[in-house]
């Protein structure tokens, strides 16, 4: 047992570090940093994110695990993790490419046509064009296969109609990946098809949605007779569910070993700065018990990440147990934020940057963390996955499995 780098890993890390040192500014570990769902709608931020991605691409640090022919480096997952670990120690623009690079690119590599791969993967890797994921609908979130946006074949095109929602970054994306229903008479999972969609197509309307933290990272997107060429179809007609599963599986593999752990030091500092009964709050035994509990959870997550990395390092593929990270990490982040806000007493109820401790960052995090527990699979869905796929307990009872989609109930029976 040894969690130092192997010689090759150490050499790779040193090389990454040297490049980052020369090209970015290090983070001050004592400075409380950012809100986990940093807002992404500002133009300057997008310009700087694009510039940073192009710089990485040109120096050979972008999409490290992708094959060289698609603009990657043909590297290992371990190398990619090492680069990300090092990069997290530097100030870099918010990650607007996670969905494209982590989920959509791999989907094109698995199911796309040779033309789609040639046309899109390299520009995606270099970050010239941003991609978004158009899956969820008002009536289809956890139950994604219940989606009702449609596409109907018309010559060499498909004509799309309907609505998507919670589409992160749709307002600054050039491309989207969308799943729609092409056969309402088939069973729920059988009638779906997957497309690449040009977000500048005629008939698309994008409306930002305001979140509880005041930001608007996501949107509702409406489609009125939007034409999509059949050459943009990914996978066979009716095979969209299988293609979408590739996207969703990659969502889980987006590993962040050790990345959620920076916040604890700042929380500790806050507990020293905040007062309780005229004394630093950190002297209060109830506060100490709670802090200790959070530290242990956070350490557990960190070393669970290391165990996953060890498996990767030995060439094994991480399984559904990877869901632990989000199932535990998201509620923990919310608890940390809640504690930090509570420790400030009545002042915690303000967001005033000058008056609060740590410039209102914890209030921002407290408002943002409920979103993490929902996005990319809710707490409950993750627990279902752990129960069913890891512990092999029986699946949920399903009332909609074998009926044609048009007969699936969508609400309470009308009187």
């Amino acid at each position: 047992m040894d969690f130092n780098d192997t010689a090759e890993e150490a050499a790779y890390r040193a090389k990454a570090r040297a490049w980052l040192d020369a090209n970015a500014e290090p983070v001050d570990p004592n400075e409380p940093s950012g809100d986990p769902l940093a807002e992404r709608e500002d133009d300057d931020m997008i310009r700087s994110a694009k510039a940073w991605q192009a710089k990485k691409f040109d120096a050979g640090w972008a999409c490290i695990t992708w094959p060289k022919e698609y603009g990657g480096q043909g590297g290992t997952t371990m190398q990619s993790v090492i680069f990300n670990q090092e990069q997290s120690k530097f100030k870099t623009p918010p990650p607007i490419y996670t969905i494209g690079h982590g989920m959509l690119g791999p989907t094109i590599m698995t199911h796309g046509t040779p033309e789609q791969k040639t046309k899109h993967l390299r520009t995606m890797a270099r970050g010239e064009e941003i991609w978004c994921q158009l899956f969820s609908e008002p009536a289809a979130g956890s139950d994604l296969a219940g989606l009702r946006s449609t596409a109907v074949r018309d010559g060499n095109d498909w004509v799309l109609n309907g609505q998507k929602i919670w589409s992160t970054g749709a307002h600054f994306s050039k491309w989207g990946m969308i799943v729609v229903r092409t056969d309402p008479n088939a069973a729920k999972h059988a009638g779906l098809t997957y497309f690449i969609l040009d977000m500048e197509s005629k008939g698309i309307e994008i409306r930002p949605i305001k979140q509880i933290n005041g930001g608007s990272g996501f949107n509702e997107v409406f489609y009125a007779d939007v034409r999509v060429p059949d050459s943009n179809r990914v996978g066979a007609v009716g095979d969209g569910w299988r293609v979408a599963l590739t996207t969703l599986m990659n969502e889980r593999v987006a590993i962040g070993a050790g990345s959620a752990t920076g916040g604890f030091r700042h929380l500790l500092k806050l507990a020293r700065d905040a007062k309780r009964g005229g004394r630093p709050a950190i002297e209060d035994s109830a506060v100490r018990q709670k802090l200790a509990e959070l530290w242990v959870t956070q350490q557990g997550l960190k070393y669970t990440g290391f165990r996953t990395l060890s498996a990767l390092s030995q060439g094994k593929i991480p399984g559904p147990e990877g869901s632990i990270g989000k199932a535990v990490g998201a509620p923990m982040a919310q608890e940390m934020a809640a504690l930090a806000v509570e420790l400030q007493g009545p002042l915690g109820a303000t967001r005033d940057a000058a008056a609060t401790l740590h410039e209102g960052l914890w209030q921002g995090m407290w408002l943002a963390t409920p979103g993490i527990r929902i996005a990319g699979g809710t707490d409950e869905i993750l627990k279902n996955i752990i129960a069913e796929r890891v512990l092999r307990l029986p699946p949920e009872v399903r009332l909609d499995k074998d009926m044609p989609f048009r007969d699936v109930p969508t609400g309470p029976p009308s009187k």
Binding site: M1, Q299, Y303, L309, E321, A387, L391
Partner: protein, 370 residues
């Protein structure tokens, strides 16, 4: 990065698992729990013959010279089988105390006997209700003789020697006491888990020798506890995993409302939470094992993480085990209470999780201040 045990280490674990599956089914734990034996002497002998008691003891002192990574995996199997033997008291606490602080002569004399199982050892620190770690012990040593009372002492009624924390002038020292010596009284206490015994030890002018530097008793005990906490965390993990496995099988076989109870989402989510708790505890324990085996300065923090997470996970597993079994889980006849008792006992004998959380904060603050 290789944050995992080696194939050789896993083989040692598998051998231990197979041995215990054959020699320590739960009926063995139950026999000790229900009867008058304080531990299973045959199993103790077997554990010694398998080389488990001295897994981390160098060969020159009669051990098998493997290491702590092997010791913790054996502990996990002891935990899984709920083996009714004084393993943690003797092989973790007393043995580690001698390894950490014993003189060459003490190690030469005692470690071979501890490894062979002919001698059982324990550590006696607590004095009545409150924390395990007493600030100023009432038990004292004067002119090489110990007087006072320690309670509870794990396996104190079956041990032949105890390392006793005593007041020594203005400080505290660790004293080695022969429990067969005149002036020692041993009283068995009714244990919450009678498959692991507990006792009260009285000392009246009993001859003793100091282990380690005089006046450094608390520092030594703190080190020994960290090491034992990591070993015990694996014992707790083994118990927790077994509780989860047994409960899962039960829930798949038990039907209500025309379906297996394992299909009810309320129970599935309980299982998922438990799985997460056990895996996070395992990760914390792995880190502890790494720090322990590498003699790393991270051990004081890593040990806290391992102790707290493993204690919480085993207690959750044991509680859920009864709940998910329903009425039969509350019967003497079913094995759930064996786990419920063992989880609580292990969760307290080295100090409660809240005592360790407090210790963790003190250590974290000291590190931040450094």
């Amino acid at each position: 990065m290789n944050f995992d045990f080696s194939d050789d280490q896993k083989l040692i674990q598998k051998t231990a698992r197979d041995y215990l599956a054959q020699h320590a089914p739960l009926s063995v734990c139950r026999r000790v729990l229900e009867g008058n034996e304080r531990y299973d002497a045959a199993l103790w002998k077997g554990a010694a013959e398998m080389g488990w008691l001295g897994a981390a003891v160098p060969e020159e002192y009669g051990g098998s010279g493997l290491g702590h990574l092997e010791l913790v995996l054996i502990a996990e199997e002891i935990g899984r089988s709920l083996a009714p033997i004084p393993f943690s008291s003797s092989a973790a606490l007393a043995t580690e105390a001698l390894l950490v602080a014993g003189s060459e002569a003490q190690k030469k004399k005692l470690l071979p006997r501890l490894c062979s199982g002919e001698l059982i050892g324990t550590l006696a620190v607590a004095e009545g209700t409150g924390d395990f770690d007493v600030a100023t012990p009432g038990t004292r040593i004067e002119g090489g003789r110990v007087t006072g009372e320690k309670l509870p002492v794990s396996d104190g009624d079956v041990a032949g020697i105890a390392l006793v924390l005593v007041r020594d002038g203005s400080g505290a020292s660790l004293a080695l006491v022969d429990l067969e010596a005149p002036g020692v009284t041993r009283t068995s206490l009714e244990s919450l888990d009678p498959s692991r015994s507990q006792a009260k030890l009285g000392f009246s002018n009993v001859p003793a020798e100091i282990v380690g530097a005089s006046g450094k008793g608390r520092e030594i005990v703190s080190k020994v506890l960290d090491r034992a906490a990591v070993v015990m965390a694996f014992e707790q993990l083994g118990g927790a995993q077994r509780a989860l496995d047994v409960t899962r099988d039960y829930a798949l076989g038990r039907y209500a409302f025309g379906r297996p109870i394992a299909s009810f989402q309320a129970l599935k989510h309980r299982f998922a939470d438990l799985f997460c708790a056990i895996e996070l505890a395992r990760s914390n324990a792995f880190y502890g094992a790494w720090a322990l085996s590498h003699g790393n300065d991270e051990l004081p923090l890593a040990a806290c993480g391992a102790r707290i997470a493993a204690t919480d996970a085993f207690e959750l597993a044991a509680k859920d085990m009864i709940q998910i079994h329903g009425g039969v889980g509350y019967t003497w006849e079913y094995d759930c209470h064996l786990f419920y008792r063992r989880a609580k006992l292990l969760g307290l004998v080295l100090g409660s999780a809240s005592e360790w959380r407090e210790k963790l904060m003190t250590r974290l603050e000291a590190r931040e201040a450094a």
